[in-house]
């Protein structure tokens, strides 16, 4: 079941086409990565899902029916350009945003306390936002995005501005939220986090959808169909890359027959980073293999 379906979305700003018939389906309970180089149209697509930008054509469906303002107001949305009231106290700020998401004051206080404890930032409650460092403000922003337990979260570049330690904290939280049943759409440039986090992706380049699907499928599809075998013989350890045969056992057998010790045999999966660069530099993705 898809939580979000974008059908043939078109959007142009004056002469400039931002999205050209883009169709994307986000399955429920998964982490969906929206990839693409700068200016590809990711943020525009996110804003269209959030009804901040009105598309020129196409439909956005939420659980199979046209998305409404009420649906949007429940989405946990963290925009790329983070923003908080600088002069407000951290606690007041978080309470305000949580209440705007429809939480009652008591629920908001309880929910926020939980998150503050989880992140170990209880003593920030009475600090002013302007006293926080960029990373700290990011954490607060993340909390305000998820505190109302939304079914769907849209995180635009969730890791930008975080140091590796905090990025890891956020990564774990995103996985935990997914495991608890939430759907997460995130846009990112960080391909490592895509491999680690995303179940499905869509790659947008130059306003067009280049590819969409499960991460594992895509990696397999774009691999050179090679396997890597590592073995030890009298001279020591060796690594060899061979084209994959339909039956891996044949390959293995030929090695075993040579009298070497096979240490490992694995399918060579291309890194998302390479696929990304390949697809993007290939232009509009016309040469996409079948």
């Amino acid at each position: 079941m898809s939580i979000i379906q974008c059908k043939e979305i078109c959007k142009s700003f004056g002469e400039k086409v931002a999205l050209d018939h883009v169709s994307v389906e986000v399955p429920e309970g998964r982490i969906f990565g929206l990839l693409g180089p700068n200016g590809a149209g990711k943020t525009t697509l996110i804003r269209i899902i959030n009804r901040i930008t009105i598309p020129n054509g196409g439909d956005v469906l939420f659980k199979g029916r046209p998305i409404t303002q009420q649906d949007v107001e429940k989405i946990g949305y963290m925009p790329e350009e983070r923003g908080l009231y600088r002069k407000m106290k951290v606690g007041d700020q978080a309470l305000y945003l949580a209440q705007l998401k429809g939480m009652s004051r008591q629920d908001a206080v309880a929910g926020l306390k939980d998150w503050f404890v989880r992140f170990g930032i209880q003593d920030w409650w009475n600090k002013k936002v302007e006293e926080l460092s960029k990373g700290m403000a990011q954490k607060l922003q993340f909390i305000t995005t998820v505190v109302h337990k939304p079914d769907l979260m849209i995180l635009d570049e969730p890791f930008s501005g975080f140091d590796p330690v905090n990025a890891e904290v956020i990564r774990k939280e995103i996985l935990r939220l997914r495991d608890e049943g939430a759907t997460i759409i995130l846009s990112t440039h960080n391909m490592e986090s895509v491999e680690e986090l995303c179940d499905d992706i869509a790659l947008i380049n130059k306003s067009r959808l280049v590819i969409t699907g499960g991460v594992a499928d895509i990696r397999r599809r774009y691999g050179n169909n090679n396997v890597e075998i590592e073995y030890t013989d009298a001279d020591g350890r060796h690594t060899e890359v061979l084209p994959r045969e339909t039956d891996g056992n044949n390959t293995l057998k030929s090695f075993i027959d040579k009298g070497v010790t096979v240490n490992s045999y694995k399918e060579l999966m291309p890194r998302m980073n390479d696929i990304f660069i390949k697809l993007v530099t290939e232009g509009d993705g016309q040469n996409e293999p079948a």
Partner: protein, 444 residues
């Protein structure tokens, strides 16, 4: 519209402002200034009485002294014949405040006069003294013509004419009035409402700009409708304004009454003499009764001002005027990313506001002129101009028409502003112009 969410927005806008130090400071400092303005003149008048200047007089002419009568402000002592230097020394020592030295009558049958004092004597003193000396010299000269029955003639020709103003109400009943009071009141009201609209309207604009420049707006509009956000903000700030007024009025009253009790001014104001003064006519000829009658005119004038209407109108016009300008300010704020860019864009909004301010000056001088009448009807100037007219009395239907026109204009403007605001708050990077604003207005 989701009322719960508007409520959340309103309470944030309200609470963050009311909790600010600057709000507390303006709330408490302004009434102190008001109270000081109310009390100080009365306090001074009350205290000047007790400090009559002691004046020692050396009258070498022999004609002036009888004219120097003691009064509340001056206490004359005759020292004619003593050595001027010696008397001067007494002034130096502080035994008396002023030495008045009058020369002998010279060839032009006049005298010259000099004063010596440690501190400047003040305008009142010198006017008063020269008036007395001139009368002495004039009488001396008249006497020198040797006219028979002079005393009687002088008494007979003395006149004291002043213009007494009346205003006629609908029934033709005439009441004493003092146009000075109307002028001041009309000016003060016009200025106040101008100030408040500019201040709180501007505050709406900076708040919109703040949300935009801090980018918090994108999170907000994913949670609430932009319309809810805009009206929540406008209403929240209106409540701040009303809170501030209420506190100002309350604190000013407390301060004025408190100070009156402490300084005993209350007794003065309610004393029988004062009441009598207020009631007395203008038959008297001496100085003090002229003052009394002025006081009585002021009091009658004040009591004839339609205070109830004035207060109701003040709030109605403030609220509507504020709403109209606040929605325009919100639209402008939504189109820019910092205050500096707002300067040029807001010109079309500030110009009518300034215009209204200038029309108030016309209203003060001539409340019945055409420009003032139109100014009090045209919605962009009416909140300010009408308030300046009201002390002079305005027919009910004119107020009604003017309020209705203002209300309709506000509704139209709010609709337009909401459209501009909705498009504007998410426009980043490019400097917006008025033609952009019109484009957004036409957008679906």
């Amino acid at each position: 519209m989701n009322l719960h969410k508007i409520g959340v927005v309103i309470s944030r806008e309200y609470l963050t402002r009311v909790k600010k130090k600057s709000f507390l400071i303006t709330t408490f400092v302004v009434p102190i200034l008001f109270a000081a303005l109310c009390i100080l003149p009365a306090f001074l008048i009350n205290n000047i009485k007790e400090k009559a200047q002691s004046v020692v007089v050396i009258d070498n002419s022999g004609i002036v002294l009888p004219y120097l009568e003691d009064s509340d402000a001056m206490d004359f002592t005759d020292c004619t014949g003593r050595d001027p230097e010696e008397v001067k020394q007494e002034v130096m020592d502080g035994k008396s405040d002023v030495m008045l030295l009058i020369s002998a009558i010279d060839s032009t049958r006049s005298v010259s006069a000099q004063t010596f004092s440690r501190k400047p004597t003040g305008v009142d003193f010198s006017q008063n003294v020269s008036y007395k000396i001139n009368r002495a010299v004039e009488d001396y000269r008249i006497k020198s013509y040797g006219i028979e029955g002079l005393e009687t003639i002088m008494k007979d020709v003395k006149s004291n004419v002043s213009v007494k103003e009346f205003t006629l109400d609908d029934s033709g009943k005439a009441t004493v009035s003092e146009s000075g009071i109307y002028m001041i009141l009309s000016m003060v009201l016009g200025m106040m409402i101008y100030m408040f609209i500019a201040m709180f309207g501007g505050s709406v604009m900076s708040s919109v700009i703040e949300e935009k420049s801090s980018r918090v707006v994108e999170v907000l509009v994913s949670s609430v409708k932009s319309l809810e956000l805009m009206f929540g903000k406008i209403i929240g700030i209106a409540l701040v304004a009303l809170t501030q007024f209420a506190l100002w009025i309350l604190l000013t009253l407390v301060l004025v009454f408190g100070a009156s009790t402490i300084f005993g001014l209350g007794d003065l104001l309610s004393s029988p003499e004062m009441t009598q003064m207020a009631q007395s006519g203008m038959s008297g000829v001496d100085m003090s009764s002229i003052q009394n009658s002025e006081m009585s005119v002021i009091l009658t004038t004040l009591s004839n001002i339609p205070w109830g209407q004035l207060i109701v109108c003040f709030f109605v016009y403030f609220i509507l005027g504020y709403l109209l300008y606040a929605s325009m300010y919100a639209a402008i704020g939504s189109a820019v990313e910092n205050e500096a860019d707002a300067q040029q864009l807001q010109l079309p909004v500030t110009i009518p506001l300034m215009l209204a301010f200038f029309i108030v000056f016309f209203a003060m001088r001539n409340p019945e002129s055409g420009i003032v009448w139109w100014g009090s009807m045209i919605p962009f100037t009416s909140p300010i101009v009408m308030l300046a007219r009201i002390p002079y009395g305005v027919p009910g239907w004119e107020i009604l028409v003017s309020v209705l026109v203002l209300l309709v204009t506000f509704i139209v403007m709010a609709w337009a502003s909401a459209k501009i605001y909705k498009a504007g708050i998410l426009m980043f990077g490019k400097k917006s112009t008025w033609s952009d604003l019109f484009k957004w207005l036409k957008q679906k």
